[in-house]
């Protein structure tokens, strides 16, 4: 009996709650998605009610808007609030929607020469006062800049030092020294800027003499210097024991337009035959070379990774990551090849690669 009355009380309490919330509840089939940081709500429900609307569905649009706004306001009113100068203020979360930036991310600027030195020595900037007491004028003046406290160039009387030439203009000497200091400062600033600028460009290492360049850099610099004459290096003699540079020939060789007709016909027919054949062509040497090269790369990457791990605690995933990127794409292709259906679409080259990878896949596993 008491159980019943408790149940009744609970049901009544629920009903009261529902009554209270009746005015602000909205029924939707799909929940809205809220991004409160941007005061944004997305309603995924298809607006079926509006389709009947006819030419101007204004009233239906307004009703839909009212419902959606009510849901958004309900969410906003649930945020934690605080009182700031007689106004109730809600704390918004971070915006969720990712929007593109308007400018690229600023690159960290490399340190200037002074900053590097200071970091090395552990020099920290000393806190200095803005104004300094100037005895001459009897007032507080700024440390540097316009109307500064101890301005060398503004003195009206300079004693000629004992060892100086009596006919020398001391005032001119001081202004000259100041100009030189200003010019030196500007030069250093530009040099720092150029160094920073240079680091942000792809490195043209070796082409600027620094005094400590590696053998490859010197070789590259030598090559570039040789070719940078008016006749593109044709008349430059080689030193007695100098070897010809590697990889400096033409990258592609093209057949002449009107050449051997019989050979051309033969090569075209051969290509068609290969394309139409159902069996894949396998160039064994090419496949094995490719396989060996990949294994070498893997070994090198692993060795590099081990070496780096020895130096630092967290091993970098850079080369490892790249390695992972490679095989899956090729693995995918090989799976397609193993799948059975071989179209005559992909030409002979593609099929050769597939054959090679099939071997490679088995080996690795």
């Amino acid at each position: 009996m008491e159980g019943q009355s408790v149940e009744e009380l609970l049901a009544k309490a629920e009903q009261d709650e529902a009554e209270k919330l009746r005015l602000i509840t909205v029924h939707k089939e799909l929940e809205l998605e809220f991004d409160l940081g941007n005061l944004l709500a997305s309603d995924r429900n298809p607006p079926t009610g509006l389709r009947r609307g006819g030419p101007t569905p204004e009233a239906e649009l307004k009703a839909l808007a009212r419902d959606n706004t009510q849901l958004l306001i309900n969410q906003l009113w649930q945020l934690p609030t605080e009182r700031v100068e007689e106004a109730v203020v809600a704390q918004l979360p971070e915006p969720i929607t990712r929007l593109p930036r308007e400018k690229p991310v600023p690159r960290p600027r490399p340190l200037t020469r002074w900053q590097q030195f200071a970091r090395l020595k552990g020099i920290r900037p000393k806190k200095k006062t803005n104004l300094v007491w100037d005895e001459v004028s009897g007032q507080w003046r700024r440390r540097w800049g316009y109307q500064r406290a101890r301005d060398d160039t503004k003195e009206w009387l300079i004693e000629v030092p004992g060892n100086a030439d009596p006919l020398e203009d001391q005032f001119a000497k001081r202004t000259q020294a100041k100009k030189e200091r200003v010019a030196k400062n500007e030069l250093n600033r530009l040099r720092n800027l150029a160094r920073a600028h240079k680091m942000q460009l792809p490195s043209s290492a070796g082409l600027h003499p620094t005094g400590h360049q590696s053998k490859e850099e010197l070789g590259r610099a030598l090559q570039v210097a040789k070719v940078s004459t008016a006749s593109v290096g044709r008349f430059q003699e080689r030193l007695p024991k100098e070897k010809a540079p590697r990889g400096s020939g033409k990258k592609r060789k093209f057949q002449p337009l009107f050449g051997d007709f019989a050979a051309e016909k033969k090569s075209q027919l051969e290509m068609l035959r290969v394309m139409n054949s159902k069996k894949p062509q396998l160039d064994v040497t090419r496949a094995t070379n490719k396989q060996m090269r990949e294994e070498d790369q893997e070994e090198a990457a692993k060795r590099r990774k081990m070496g780096q791990k020895g130096k630092r605690k967290g091993g970098r995933q850079g080369p490892g990551g790249k390695r992972k990127g490679g095989p899956p794409s090729q693995g995918g292709k090989s799976k397609g090849g193993l799948g059975g259906k071989m179209n005559s679409g992909p030409p002979g080259l593609g099929s050769k690669r597939k054959g090679g990878q099939r071997q490679g896949g088995k080996k690795r596993k």
């Binding site: 944004l40 808007a65 308007e102 690229p104």
Partner: protein
């Protein structure tokens, strides 16, 4: 390039502040919008631009003169304007027989056009045609997108992102609840996009959250999607790149269950279990004689090892 900007040092503090405002930063400024009229803009389009300017004040610039350019063919003039006025959003209005009442809305990345979407205005009711009180300028609007079309096609998705970017205003951490005054509602239906803006009226309801009544206030547009010029995927990805400093920091040693339970991890040193403090069982207590023999055993073990 920023290096070229720094070669010539600004001579005044004001110039320095001006340049600092425009340089790329970790957390960026509010995006400005420029509203441009084309060579043949008619009254409707001009009025639309003026209304959008009223919505976007003070983060917008309305150009009064007509500019004879075609955004979809040649973007250099738009990029020049963007660089001069430091605006990354733009809206260009024009009108001709083939594309009547045309509105091109777009955004820039690094002063180059990122996305551009052309919309046709089918019906327009301006701010001054609806005679009621308006909200103060500069209020942050609430944005609502209705209709499942906004997630289906890439065009619509970019349009949604573009409209959010355009109308959202400054990002704030706190907002005065009484100051939420107007809402922009976009509905995608039957290939058309209905843009309506309403003023919010908060009515009493039984509980703390008020009941909402809406009153149509502002510009209402019926738009049709025409041409688009969307950025390629890698350029878009580049523009979305967040600097590492702004990424939310992950709390270590805390993990969550699918049921909502939070698990924490505590790292401790290795414990010597023989010295563990357990309940004292009087029966298991070592008697002095046993303790002496144990010590002797330990000593002999040590000698053996040595």
């Amino acid at each position: 390039m920023d290096a070229l900007d720094r070669v010539v040092k600004p001579k005044t503090k004001r110039a320095k502040r001006f340049l600092e405002k425009r340089e790329p930063k970790l957390s960026e400024n509010v995006k400005n919008a420029m509203l441009i009229k084309g060579g043949n803009a008619n009254l409707t389009v001009t009025q639309v631009l003026r209304d959008v300017y009223a919505l976007k004040k003070p983060y917008g610039i309305l150009y009064k003169k007509k500019n004879i350019t075609r955004p979809f063919e040649d973007q250099t003039s738009l990029e020049f304007f963007s660089k001069k006025s430091d605006c990354s959003l733009f809206m260009f209005g024009s009108h001709n027989k083939k594309r009547p009442n045309n509105l091109v809305i777009g955004r820039m990345y690094d002063y180059h056009v990122l996305d551009m979407i052309e919309l046709g205005i089918e019906k327009f009711v301006s701010l001054k045609d609806i005679k009621n009180s308006k909200c103060p300028e500069g209020t942050k609007p609430m944005l609502i997108f209705a209709g499942n079309d906004f997630d289906v096609t890439e065009d619509y998705r970019r349009l949604k992102s573009l409209l959010t970017d355009f109308f959202r205003g400054p990002t704030v951490s706190n907002i005065r609840l009484a100051g939420l005054e107007y809402v922009l509602h976009f509905t995608a239906l039957n290939g058309k996009i209905y843009f309506r803006s309403y003023k919010l009226l908060l009515k009493k309801s039984g509980c703390r959250t008020p009941r909402i009544e809406l009153e149509e206030m502002g510009p209402s547009l019926d738009l049709v999607l025409r041409r688009t010029h969307l950025a390629s995927d890698d350029l878009y990805k580049l523009s979305m790149k967040m600097p590492k400093a702004l990424k939310p920091k992950k709390k270590k040693n805390i993990s969550h269950d699918t049921f909502g339970t939070t698990y924490g991890r505590i790292h401790m040193q290795k414990q010597d279990l023989s010295k563990l403090q357990t309940r004292k069982m009087k029966g298991l207590k070592k008697r002095p004689a046993e303790r002496i023999t144990e010590d002797q055993e330990k000593k002999s073990k040590r000698i053996k090892k040595n």
